[in-house]
């Protein structure tokens, strides 16, 4: 059985080669060439596309993408951790319901959720009409960076809460009681007992928020009003508007490499914590 049924995986190996490996190789190939993509004979080796990153225009966009994604990740952690904590400490019968209500919005289409914020934040939107009605000055949040960060936090907050909640729910209550019995107050118990145990949850939460945030082009396009370009918008434009596949490919490679590096670093942090958790305190 063992020897024969492994052949069942072989068709998928071919499938993966065609639809996963070759496309990435093509992107890598286009990123290192220049010329007319419709005339394969004209393509020649070039690092021109990578050279463009030193153009301050593009460099600023890349830095801004990482900065806004970082900011949203920090905000998600700041707001999401207490949510996970409160749900995990709720009575057993309330817990499922709280979690369910928390998850309903993410089952709505991602585009609709972002569109909803457009309806609220736009200059003539709901928020400003309400402010006008009660006699307060109107706000000019959208289009702008603030609206983009808000959209990111709104869309990705559950990705931070879920993994942290999963880890928190698993913590043995007896350990907490032991800490209390041994004279630790609430704060010390949290910092020394609970927090270290939730690092794996935080790590996966941070990864799950940062990744989609840094590569989004929808949120920045809709809530940034086309003025707040991020690396995702840059890639999208190269493939749909400018038809500069070489630069678009180079951008994709850069994005992919940066994300894979940060994930490797994050998993190192995670593994390090498991092996030598005591070193933290």
């Amino acid at each position: 059985m063992k020897n024969k049924s492994k052949y069942l995986a072989y068709p998928y190996v071919i499938w993966m080669a065609i639809f996963i490996v070759i496309p990435l190789v093509l992107v890598l190939y286009y990123s290192f060439t220049s010329g007319n993509i419709h005339d394969p004979g004209s393509l020649k080796f070039s690092v021109e596309s990578y050279g463009k990153f030193f153009d301050s225009l593009y460099l600023n966009i890349i830095i801004k993408s990482f900065w806004l994604a970082f900011l949203s990740t920090v905000l998600c952690l700041l707001f999401g951790y207490p949510v996970a904590f409160i749900i995990s400490r709720a009575k057993m019968k309330h817990r499922g319901l709280l979690l369910l209500f928390f998850l309903v919005p993410i089952w709505m289409n991602f585009l609709l959720r972002t569109y909803a914020w457009m309806a609220i934040l736009s200059p003539n939107g709901f928020l400003n009409r309400v402010l006008e009605m009660i006699g307060l000055p109107t706000l000019a949040i959208m289009p702008g960076q603030k609206a983009v960060v808000l959209g990111m936090v709104y869309n990705f907050l559950p990705f931070m809460v879920l993994p942290i909640y999963t880890v928190l729910a698993k913590i043995d209550k007896n350990v907490l009681e032991a800490a209390m019995d041994l004279g630790a107050n609430g704060l010390i118990t949290f910092v020394r007992v609970i927090l270290p145990q939730t690092i794996p949850g935080i790590v996966s939460g941070v990864t799950m928020v940062f990744m989609p945030a840094v590569s989004t082009f929808v949120i920045s396009r809709l809530l940034g009003g086309g003025k707040e370009l991020l690396i995702g918008n840059l890639i999208e434009q190269q493939f749909t508007v400018h038809r500069d596949w070489h630069f678009g490919s180079a951008l994709s490679i850069i994005l992919m490499v940066m994300i894979l590096i940060s994930m490797a670093v994050m998993s190192k942090v995670d593994a390090g914590n498991e092996q030598g958790g005591a070193a933290l305190w």
Partner: protein, 260 residues
């Protein structure tokens, strides 16, 4: 006591933040006036307009057709491949699983443009077929990842016993292995279906010739400004989601997980 009040207020504010945008959309889907800040009286006309809009009904049709076909194909290929991968040697397993992980780990936009590059290099016209293939490509890894744990939990000797007792390999697979891993297969299929319905980025790059899905149509409408029929669409989608979640929740009290 004070702690309890703080906790409740905090959760209240978070839920307000989560639900306010949705509530605003729902309320304004019944608004006679086209403006978002002004209440012009109750109406159902946007719902009628929604179903008369040929772009939206077409997108709805393609969304569910692609989701159904891609999750079906991905579930079949994924389950068979998972059984194969499970029985492979250590090295082969490791290499395949790592490559299989790529579409999960890579940002959607990279998967999207990479597939588009492939299709155009092969001189394929972007349209229904390319969109379907791209959905199958990103669905299979999730099916494999949800079937593999079930295979690991399964008692290895069961299949061997079936073979010893004279079952053909195909019969053993149908009668012994598949029923054992069924929960994983269903979870994988549901996940594939949801991901496909919700996908925007990968579809955006891999479709053309007038084939769209809901996300694409919402994106292009939102870019041009607000259209009240989108509000009506959101309301209907939210109701569908809530009903689905309630059904899943009912099922989950019987022992399955809430989140796929």
């Amino acid at each position: 006591m004070v702690g309890k009040i703080i906790k409740r207020t905090y959760m209240g504010l978070i839920f307000l933040f989560l639900y306010m945008p949705i509530l605003v959309l729902i309320v304004f889907s019944f608004n006679e006036s086209k403006s978002r800040g002004h209440w012009g009286g109750f109406t159902l006309k946007w719902y009628g307009e929604l179903f008369r809009d040929p772009d939206i009904t077409k997108a709805l049709y393609y969304t569910f057709l692609v989701a159904f076909l891609s999750s079906l194909i991905a579930t079949v290929i994924g389950t068979i491949s998972a059984i194969g991968i499970h029985n492979m040697g250590l090295l082969g397993k490791k290499v395949i699983l790592n490559v299989n992980y790529l579409p999960v780990l890579n940002p959607d936009i990279v998967t999207g443009v990479a597939l588009m590059t492939l299709f155009i290099s092969m001189n394929m016209r972007l349209g229904f077929t390319t969109m379907l293939i791209s959905h199958v490509v990103f669905n299979i890894p999730y099916v494999i990842l949800s079937v593999l744990p079930k295979l690991r939990q399964m008692n290895r000797h069961m299949a061997e016993a079936a073979l010893d007792l004279g079952a053909t390999p195909f019969y053993a697979m149908r009668k012994v292995i598949i029923p054992e891993i069924m929960p994983g297969v269903i979870t994988g299929a549901l996940m594939a279906f949801t991901l496909s319905v919700d996908d925007f980025v990968i579809s955006f790059f891999n479709t053309g010739s007038g084939v769209t899905n809901l996300s694409i149509i919402i994106f292009s409408m939102a870019r041009r400004g607000i259209k009240p029929s989108i509000n009506a669409l959101s309301t209907l989608m939210l109701i569908t989601v809530v009903i689905l979640l309630l059904i899943i929740n009912k099922r989950s009290t019987k022992g399955d997980e809430l989140i796929p």
